[in-house]
């Protein structure tokens, strides 16, 4: 293809090719089908053509930013992971994707954005370090607000009344969902036999963040880790389809237990911030000097006038004092 489609998604982190589940779905699907995509892994959502991530720039349909739309588009371009499935398996795919969206997605949002400890120590930490300078102060909290709103509306109005009970309920349903998936997968390599289909992309992208992220508060993680076949399934997909993303993590990635390890990681940012602050300080001083008239630039070119200009400055300075 002359001009490959361009996919914009979040950068890699937490041992995953991309940190966002939606981006991961699209990316995994693309890898499964071998669609030729030019992938831009970015840390600034404002640089995405649609303002949100993931986004796919296509030639004939403009910019797509909904996961399902992107996958449908890829399917239309003959990159169809479900080509070999029977009609009944296609039906099963639809059903299990609904199950994931209803049972697992709310918990995923809650684990990463709702749980205070996880949010502060894990999610916000990553995003605040990854997002470039001025945006990192407000984008993470804005993203959290959006995600929580989504969670609240999906769970119903009584979310705030009984948060604790709802949380328990959510986790119970998610555990049940994980068990169901594990039973459905059984000993197969993928959900429909030996080759991956779109359902695998969805399941993988909902499980892998839970499995890979080192969360301080990982209730669901324990349950997932006890389901051996699902863990193996995720690791297999990671090593088969994303061999290099894992091995070669960018400097921001290893979010290990914090402490001495992360000190050195922050070094380049410290130096950059130092230089930035010095520059900002200088600019402020010069600006003030200009505005208050301590320094004035005179446009008279001839060199003989220069001494006068200097004397002028000196006079003004005296006035100031």
């Amino acid at each position: 293809m002359a001009a490959p489609m361009e996919l914009y998604c979040w950068a890699s982190g937490w041992g995953l090719p991309t940190v966002d589940p939606d981006c991961l779905t699209v990316l995994t699907y693309a890898r499964f089908t071998g669609a030729p995509l030019k992938v831009h892994k970015i840390t600034n959502p404002w640089r995405s053509p649609s303002g949100t991530l993931p986004a796919l720039r296509t030639k004939d349909e403009g910019i797509l930013s909904d996961t399902h739309q992107i996958i449908t588009h890829l399917r239309k371009q003959k990159f169809n992971a479900d080509y070999d499935l029977s009609a009944r398996q296609g039906a099963d795919t639809l059903a299990f994707v609904s199950l994931l969206q209803k049972k697992l997605l709310p918990v995923l949002i809650h684990t990463f954005w709702g749980d205070a400890k996880n949010y502060v120590e894990h999610t916000r930490k990553w995003y605040a370090e990854a997002i470039p300078f001025p945006l990192n102060f407000f984008l993470p909290s804005r993203m959290q607000k959006q995600q929580l709103e989504r969670l609240q509306v999906v769970c119903g109005e009584n979310y705030l009344d009984s948060e604790e009970e709802l949380e328990k309920e959510l986790y119970r349903e998610a555990c049940e969902c994980l068990t169901l998936l594990s039973q459905r997968l059984g000993r197969q390599k993928f959900f429909f036999g030996d080759s991956p289909a779109s359902l695998d992309a969805f399941v993988f992208s909902h499980l892998a963040p839970l499995l890979k992220a080192k969360l301080p508060n990982g209730k669901l993680q324990h349950h997932l880790k006890s389901l051996q076949n699902l863990c193996n399934y995720c690791t297999a997909i990671l090593s088969l389809y994303f061999p290099w993303d894992e091995g070669d993590p960018p400097p921001v990635v290893p979010k290990a237990a914090a402490g001495d390890g992360s000190e050195s990681e922050e070094e380049p940012y410290k130096r950059r911030n130092q230089i930035l602050s010095v520059l900002v300080g200088l600019a402020a001083m010069v600006g003030y000097a200009f505005l208050s008239g301590i320094i004035s630039v005179q446009r008279q070119a001839p060199s003989q006038l220069r001494p006068r200009a200097i004397t002028l400055e000196e006079e003004e300075e005296e006035e100031e004092e």
Binding site: A91, A95, K103, V153, V154, N158, E169
Partner: protein
């Protein structure tokens, strides 16, 4: 329904048998009930029929406000009140009646998945049609929803509900969908159900499960409810095995019980 209450209910429920005076509460049938509520009520009725548990139907204008979760229908059994299909299934199971005991683990997983599919697509499409399609909202939803209340209140409550549903639609990404896209989704869902059902009697062969009750509730309601356009029911009608599935359940579980106008699938065909 909250987890604690549920655990409590389940514990107590196990002790007592099903009483003869159990009641199922739902909104007024003729003048008030909406498409999605009717589907939910019918699903619960079908489920209880399949379990052969007798229940008395009670129509109340304020059923929505009586329900512990704010959603209809709910059942009143002995000292307990349980609402919505999922919790009712669990409650009934605790009493020793279950339709899905004969299934293996994989089938149970599939059953749960298909139930979510129906809720995700059909229920959302019904909600979309009755609260986001402007013509339907004006002609059907608002008058029906507000019918039991006096003048200013009927509009206030209807708008309140409409605002709530639209906000939810926006959150799940249906806010900007066109009606055609919704129909597309319904078609996709029906196709999946039809494929899955194939030529079997019920979704899991010879015996009905709660999935059958849920699918019946939604499809039957879509097929028999008079709306301003019949595009939605046309979509369902193109799958002949789903229609005969509805007819089968109607004959088997509702025959002779209700000679209601709504219980007549012979209208179609």
């Amino acid at each position: 329904m909250s987890l604690a209450a549920e655990a409590f209910v389940t514990q107590i429920a196990a002790a007592e048998p099903w009483p003869g005076n159990a009641a199922l509460y739902q909104p007024l049938k003729e003048e008030q009930i909406l498409l999605s509520d009717n589907a939910a009520c019918l699903a619960v009725q079908a489920f209880l029929q399949m379990c052969s548990l007798p229940v008395q139907l009670v129509h109340r204008a304020n059923a929505e406000y009586m329900s512990p979760s704010g959603k209809v229908p709910f059942i009143h059994v002995g000292n307990q009140v349980v609402s919505e299909l999922g919790p009712i299934v669990q409650f009934v199971k605790a009493k020793g009646h279950s339709l899905s005991d004969g299934l293996d683990e994989v089938q149970k997983a599939e059953m749960k998945a298909y139930m979510e599919l129906v809720n995700n697509k059909l229920l959302t499409a019904e909600l979309y049609l009755q609260w986001c399609d402007d013509a339907t909202v004006q002609e059907i939803t608002h008058p029906r929803y507000g019918s039991p209340y006096p003048w200013p209140l009927n509009h206030i409550l209807a708008y309140q509900k409409q605002w709530e549903v639209r906000r939810k639609m926006k959150a799940i990404g249906w806010g900007c969908k066109s009606f055609d896209q919704v129909l597309e989704d319904v078609d996709q869902c029906c196709q999946a159900l039809s494929q899955r059902l194939g030529t079997q009697l019920y979704f899991f062969n010879k015996k009905p499960t709660e999935l059958d009750a849920l699918v019946f509730g939604h499809l039957f309601t879509i097929l028999t409810t008079q709306l301003i356009s019949d595009e939605l029911s046309e979509k369902v009608k193109s799958y002949s095995n789903l229609i005969s599935f509805c007819r089968r359940i109607e004959q088997h579980y509702f025959e002779g019980r209700a000679k209601d106008a709504t219980f007549r699938l012979s209208l179609i065909s």
